[in-house]
Amino acid sequence: MLSLAAHQGASVAEKITKDCPLAIRGLTVSYGQKPAVFSVDMTVQPGAMTAIIGPNGAGKSTLLKAALGIVSPLSGQVSVFGEPLEKQRARIAYVPQRASVDWDFPTRVIDVVLMGLSRELGLLGRVRARHMSRAMDCLNRVGMRDFADRQIGQLSGGQQQRVFLARALAQDADLYLLDEPFAGVDAATEKAIIAVLKSLKEAGKTVVVVHHDLATVTDYFDHVFLINTRKVAEGTVAEAFTAETLQSAYGGRLATAQIDQISRALG
């Protein structure tokens, strides 16, 4: 644990510049008596794909929501590209957990994607042909072009997740934050989503994903952030995704066999 604490100290000392897509300092969030996230620092590397990992109830989603201003923290600061969140909202795209919305809502796939353009459209701006074609392009990128006119409740879970990703693509952001995008989706969707995320990274965008499948971390991501209410480790996969840090984050909840497997995968 001592070495991990030293790791934290190092990131605090870093200067937050406008190159840093997301920097969180001393963030504490509580829903009741017990903090969900306690005194967390996080520095997201530009142009990287970062996984936020931790056991159930470790505060992964809460960390993301607090970074986005969806929940109010008790204390702490969030800066996005070196500025307060409010000034940089246009550069952030967010994919919430699929289960967080009611898919029976009376709307079509294309309307959900167009929601990603609402900052551009403003209160009363009309949806024009160019907005429509951009939204269709985004649907195309996730392989959902043929579903544009479907009611969203008629889609499978994986298709719903892809529509959410298409909406984020329509936001044309520099920082993409996704909450459990692979939860309960089919293998084809998982492949489609990871392909899109990798293309975003190649285009120089920054991607942060709340992720729970430890087996795919090394394949999908280059940075990890391990959390269990407090920060456990942060860094490249090689630095921070080790048997030691995982044991520390998951405690007894992670079977030794799993750790062995991951250790072998890491070489």
Partner: protein
């Protein structure tokens, strides 16, 4: 029926009933989708303390102080419900239950503890309007619609509910996009800068204003029915919110007109001597429309709850 009879006796109640129905159905669409539809019921209870306080302050039972008191109480209730919901971190329905029973009880207590109970305080009127009495005796026929002298004798409820309908429509039109996005996905709405707390409060306050204006004209029965029945029936006709709103307006008008006509003439057709309450019949018609939509509406089945497909 010719204009000489229709315009003075039926035109104004029909218009007032229709405007009230639409003014409640419009915000009702969002309330139903947000699972806050019972707010109409809550508001009908909480206006009581407002009316009593308005009487205590002014000493009169005229319409304006009563309406302001009712509107004030409705706004206080809405703010309290939101506060209880957020501070207690409980669901909206439970917060409503706590606030509206407490405020209704406070109203009864206030009524009994002050001298108001000896005065004839017209709570009846505020809670159960009388649509049939809102006639336009200055009118002699269709020509009166353009006659300024006759127009001056219009029942004041008509311009009041018309203004309310206009205000509600402007609110929904202006905030259409953020209302739709935040109703569907509140978290996402916040990340794009929508102040969802303020917007949700504004929606409920708009609904409260519509409710209070409608109570005054047509009574609480219509209000509670119109917040829920036309939007819920409309939801089963379509899978698009834009179309749902249009259907809800059609159903609101249909309920108001058919309910008014049936209340006036239905019993006569059946051989009975008296008419029945128009407000009650309008609410009944909206309930029937909802039943038909639930039985035969094209989009009545839940297409797919999360995780089923």
């Amino acid at each position: 029926m010719n204009g000489e009879e229709f315009v003075p006796l039926s035109l104004t109640p029909l218009l007032i009933g229709t405007f009230a129905a639409i003014a409640c159905a419009l915000p009702g669409n969002f309330l139903v989708l947000r699972k806050q539809a019972l707010i109409g019921d809550a508001i009908s209870h909480v206006v009581l303390p407002g009316i009593v306080v308005a009487f205590l302050l002014t000493g009169t039972i005229s319409t304006w102080p009563m309406m302001l008191g009712a509107a004030g109480a409705a706004v206080v209730a809405v703010v309290l419900i939101e506060a209880v919901r957020r501070l207690g971190q409980i669901e909206a329905g439970a917060a409503m239950g706590v606030v509206f029973t407490a405020m209704f009880a406070a109203g009864v207590l206030l009524l009994e503890q002050t001298y108001t109970s000896t005065v004839h305080l017209d709570v009846e009127h505020a809670l159960y309007g009388n649509l049939e009495s809102l006639i336009w005796l200055d009118a002699v026929g269709w020509s009166s619609v353009l006659d300024p002298v006759a127009l001056a004798g219009l029942p004041p409820e008509l311009p009041r509910i018309a203004l309310t309908l206009l205000a509600v429509s402007v609110f929904v039109w202006l905030f259409w996009r953020p209302l739709k996005i935040s109703t569907f996905d509140e978290g996402f709405a916040r990340t794009i800068g929508v102040r969802t707390g303020v917007l949700g409060m504004a929606l409920v306050i708009t609904a409260a204003i519509a409710a209070v204006a409608a109570f005054d004209a047509v009574g609480s029965i219509i209000v509670i029915a119109m917040f829920i029945c036309p939007p819920a029936a409309a939801r089963m006709m379509t899978n698009r919110l834009e179309t749902q709103i249009a259907w809800s307006i059609v159903f609101a008008i249909l309920s108001a007109v058919s309910g008014y006509v049936l209340a006036g003439y239905g019993p006569l057709w059946l051989g009975a001597a008296d008419a029945v309450s128009a407000a009650g019949m309008i609410a009944t018609m909206s309930g029937l429309i909802l039943a038909f939509a639930a039985l035969w509406g094209p989009c009545r089945t839940r297409a797919g709850a999360p995780g089923t497909a």
